[in-house]
Symmetry: C2
Subunit: 676 residues, 2 copies
């Protein structure tokens, strides 16, 4: 299995004013500079600079034909070059990039900042912006910018749509050239933490924290930390039992607490700079503190206490719900469960615990309201979890650029405070002055040649990192960056791909899920339409459609979920007259003939949006077709194959959904289009 | 894995007048007797008698405490005994059983007849009927009484609900004590042919006709033929290609024809008395003559010609349909496809070809009309295929005694002739004077201790064989026989189990599938309700429910399927006023408020039948509960576990189906029961 370089493919000459004059790279350290605490070992810090310099050399050689030399001090008359300057006063991980008299300066107070500055410079060059007079600085907005890989040790990936794992095969850890390229890709967009194994920790993965694997974990960690990335592992809460060492995993049992202390000591000693653990507990069959009548706080704090001496973090997922619900039960509401399970524990977690909260209360649907724990919790470190693996959004066979969705989520006002109250403010640490917080994405990579199955799905990987680093970037800007980085400066390519990316989420929403209802997908594999697929199941994911209407009553008359939000959000969501159209069926059971704000009835909206979604895809495919010859042939063919499928599959979605609602409601399409 | 003896468990003393006097067994041959052609080798014939004598000895010892001795000739004064008498004039496989002066005579013209007579005698004894003055004879109604095992060579069983295969494991053929008990069970109910491997022939199974396996096949055949059972194999139509020997499997290619001739020579030589082959061709992705633009007749006849010199049969399945249908296509009708594919070939098949036709045009639903090829074909050997593996009828977790359904099918009048026109007449050979015909069941056995998962599912195995042998037996009689054979004479046991068996099919139909609609099951595994599960799929299995009504228009206005039957069947099915209620939705799209003959509306029938089905199961479980202590403990517990599940699952079926139709139609239950 080969692999490509994605957006770090520097084989093409680029025209960037000032770039081809750069003849050397040297490291300067301000006289009174003392290295800031970076969380990285010194070892890592050194490697970072070495890796950054090598990246610069290779990239400039590829893009300008001239490979700058690395030197301790520039000689007299050495010409123009790049100065990597350690300077105090710049915030951790931040950088300042400037140009003067043909020389470029990348200043930072730590190695990561330098590395990020290097990648920022390469971006400038690849995208063809002039270096003349350049002067800007940037500090990442989120402390933790993390990828969660759901890779299993047998090489499979849960919800993976890009081949097999490149971290694991046959219960072994893989370390090879691909690992390095992965680290470069992640670092280039500012990722500073990764979890390499599936949150559902079973079988061999339980043993990752034992001697059996720690040697390899350390090796992998060395590569990642050389790019400023802290390695985390997903943890099996029941490890003391499943490793056969204890009979219990009760977090208040002293033997259990002692066991974890010893275990953490081992792991952090064997893997210098190790980040910590991600835990899915008491969820979807995974073990947790509930078994022992304890709370999530008990469980998380036990682990956090053991990890604290080493600066380790415990990232505890809030995706907890009853997955054995009876569909006949209209009172239980899965949407409430994350909130109900955690709100009472607010303030009880140690400072090195971070609660990881999915963006919405259900599970990565194409449209959900923001999770009410954001704005609910005030005394707890929080991390936003999004998914760039397109589990419910086309599985990297459909194009669905998710950055516009993430933007909406980040700017959502929770009203937990009168200002600085958005999700972005909360998870960046601004709202409550926290530092252990940030954003994590369930990764969309695998060992496919192009990393992400659909070549354009790489824009989600790229975009997630960039957005986490700089939340002010617009989705369009990020798309443009990714296109430029990946395919260069051709205007038609830029315009077409940007159009495709920006259309893709609205299109996907249109031909799949109307008005926030969600879950009309095939059970288990979550691909393709099945309107009633989850309607009579145990998963708590119902649409409650009947011949009169559709939607789940989550208002005060229903499950009361709408009231979990702070005002004025609660009153807006609770009132079907005020609720935004795009979430109407999430919050209310609405008759098909109800008039939306758009002036259309619900049923007509369903018909129209589905037909429109198909038309959007048809148009997208037509535009893409014209790029033949303008994109690398292999990439074009891979994409075209997917677009052809998407076109057909969008039609299938449209026809099934429309047929379903037409048959159910008996109400005809006003425009008399073909419904089966 | 241990195994039990099912209905051949002779460990209990039984009281049967005349049985405990039997002191010897001897074989008599009429003076002018010459062995009839049995289709068995002489070797088989000898083994048959030996096996029959051993069966008699073991059984009588177990049931009476006295083991009769086997002797060439009874001595003077040897007392009373059993005479196995070879006598001419009795039809092949038939027997005459009589008693006079305390001695029993089993007369037949061939060894199989003797063996069947022996099992008939043991039945008399076990069930406790007196032997005094006994005098009856029976010739099997069907020439071929066959089991089709869908066992894969890796040990799995397609649609198997009783554990793994006992014929195969790890790509090897298993031969052990269980094989012998299987042969005894099958022979005891008159089975005379078995196919041991899945009709979907893949991987190792393609190699069964090669030296790799033929030695073991011969060994297995020796055991089976010792019980009068001919061994058949399922064949991979593309074997010449898949075995790597030819590039083509074109049935008109002389090289292909030559290949098969050599192959058949090998197989029939290595496996004396081998029966022949079952073929699923051009169906559900299996290869076949269509690939080469040839007909099923071309394919079947090529194989038949090669097998003819050895008396081999080619059994060719008619389960051929387009499994890539578009649900939007209302014109294509899967129900038509078997008929449409084969009717034009009538009369073109060689005499050692038998077309194997499923009982209904779809696929083993709880209710289907009889396949229109029965009565359609007049010049072709036909075999009826039923399924005792309860794929769509509860998977041996629900009790569903299928013999009443098979009775209905067999007595269906096709009107192909003015008399002797029933399905029974056709497949018994009576209608058209054929001999290569009969009935096959997809088997329900596995390596579970009790053979069939649900202990009572053994009644379907038992009953299928008995019914094939003697189609005049009623379902009640067969149930009574099975209960008596298995559990003895306790009246409460007899009455309760007979009640359960006879209620079970009507109950299952009531709480699952109303009015012949079918297919409202979970896709793939076919277990549990999913009303829309197949509605938008590629399988051609739709119910077309909308808010007005439900059903598939197969009348002259629709797909025209109803007109494939001979009159007066066609006119009855074609007319919604005349169509029997239980098949109404199979043939017509009917409004929910349409009045059935029962006087109920369709929708009220749906509600009522589902609630009633649940009540029937509740009552069944209550009655079964009272058998605690009356049945072997292990068997009782196994059954009880299943009944508890069935009760809950019947409720689930009822609630989902009723909720679905209530939500769709908006029409309330007249009796105001709880619908979700």
């Amino acid at each position: 299995m080969g692999f490509e370089q994605a957006w770090l493919n520097y084989t093409e000459r680029t025209s960037c004013e000032g770039a081809d004059e750069l003849q050397y790279i040297c490291v300067d350290i301000e006289e009174d500079f003392r290295p800031a605490k970076t969380g990285l070992t010194e070892f890592g810090a050194d490697e970072l600079i070495e890796n950054g310099v090598r990246e610069l050399q290779n990239a400039l050689e590829g893009m300008t034909g001239c490979r700058p030399v690395s030197r301790e001090q520039p000689d007299e008359g050495a010409g123009k070059g790049i100065h990597l300057l350690f300077q105090k006063g710049i915030p951790a991980e931040g950088y300042r990039l400037s140009e003067k008299d043909g020389s470029v300066k990348i200043a930072a107070s730590d190695s990561r900042g330098i590395l990020y500055g290097i990648f920022a410079l390469l971006r400038q060059i690849r995208i063809g912006k002039t270096l003349r007079g350049m002067e800007f600085s940037k500090t990442p907005d989120m402390p933790l910018r993390m990828l969660n890989h759901w890779d299993n040790m047998d090489g499979s990936i849960e919800r993976g749509y890009s081949g097999e794992s490149f971290f694991f095969a046959d219960d072994e850890i893989l370390i090879n050239d691909r690992t390095v390229t992965y680290a470069r890709l992640a670092a280039s967009v500012g990722i500073n933490a990764v979890v390499i194994n599936n949150v559902n920790v079973k079988d061999a993965a339980t043993w990752l924290i034992t001697e059996r694997y720690l040697g390899k974990v350390r090796e992998l960690n060395e590569i990642l930390s050389g790019y400023g990335i802290r390695l985390f592992l997903s943890l099996n809460y029941a490890a003391p039992v499943e490793l056969g060492e204890l009979e219990s995993a009760d977090p208040l049992d002293e033997r259990v607490r002692g066991w974890w202390k010893k275990r953490m000591e081992l792991v952090f000693r064997e893997v210098p700079g190790f980040g910590g653990f991600l835990i899915k507990a008491d969820s979807e069959g995974r073990p947790g503190p509930f078994t022992y009548g304890r709370t999530h706080a008990d469980g998380a704090n036990m682990l956090a206490e053991a990890a604290a001496p080493y600066g380790g973090l415990i990232i505890w997922r809030c995706f907890v719900y009853n997955c054995q619900q009876d569909w006949r039960d209209y009172k239980t509401d899965r949407a409430r469960s994350g909130y109900d399970n955690f709100i009472g524990l607010d303030g009880m977690f140690l400072d090195n615990v971070v609660l990881q909260i999915k963006n919405g209360p259900m599970d990565f649907q194409v449209r959900e309201p923001v999770h009410p724990l954001f704005g609910g919790l005030t005394g707890t470190n929080q991390m936003l979890e999004v998914q760039i693996a397109q589990e419910y959004t086309g599985q990297q066979r459909h194009l669905c650029y998710l950055i516009p969705m993430f933007k909406e989520i980040l700017r959502f006002r929770t009203h937990v405070k009168s200002k600085e109250d958005t999700v972005r403010d909360i998870v960046s640490g601004k709202a409550f002055g926290q530092t252990n917080c940030g954003i994590a994405a369930v990764a969309n990579t695998g060992n496919d040649d192009n990393w992400t199955g659909h070549d354009m799905a790489a824009a989600n990987f790229y975009g997630f990192g960039r957005l986490a680093f700089d939340t002010d970037l617009t989705a369009e800007e990020i798309a443009g960056e990714w296109i430029g980085m990946t395919y260069g400066q051709d205007e038609q390519v830029m315009e077409t791909l940007q159009y495709l990316l920006m259309q893709s989420w609205p299109a996907y929403e249109s031909y799949t899920s109307p008005l926030g209802i969600g879950w009309m997908v095939s059970p288990n594999n979550h691909y393709g339409p099945s309107v009633d697929g989850y309607e009579y199941s145990r998963w708590g994911t119902y649409h409650r459609a009947d011949c009169q209407g559709i939607g789940v009553d989550r208002s005060h008359d229903g499950t009361g979920y709408a009231l979990l939000y702070r005002e004025p959000n609660a009153v807006v969501y609770d009132d079907k007259e005020k609720c935004p159209d795009e979430l109407l069926l999430f919050f209310h059971h609405i008759p098909y003939l109800w008039k939306l704000r758009s002036g259309k009835t619900v049923i007509q909206h369903i018909y129209d949006s589905h037909f429109e979604g198909v038309e959007m895809v048809d148009e997208m495919v037509e535009r893409f077709r014209k790029l033949r010859g303008k994109l690398p042939q292999k990439a074009y063919e891979r994409m075209m194959e997917r677009f052809v499928h998407q076109k057909e599959h969008a039609r299938e979605w449209c026809d099934q959904i429309n047929a379903y609602f037409y048959r159910k409601s008996g109400i005809s399409d006003e425009r008399k289009r073909k419904i089966y």
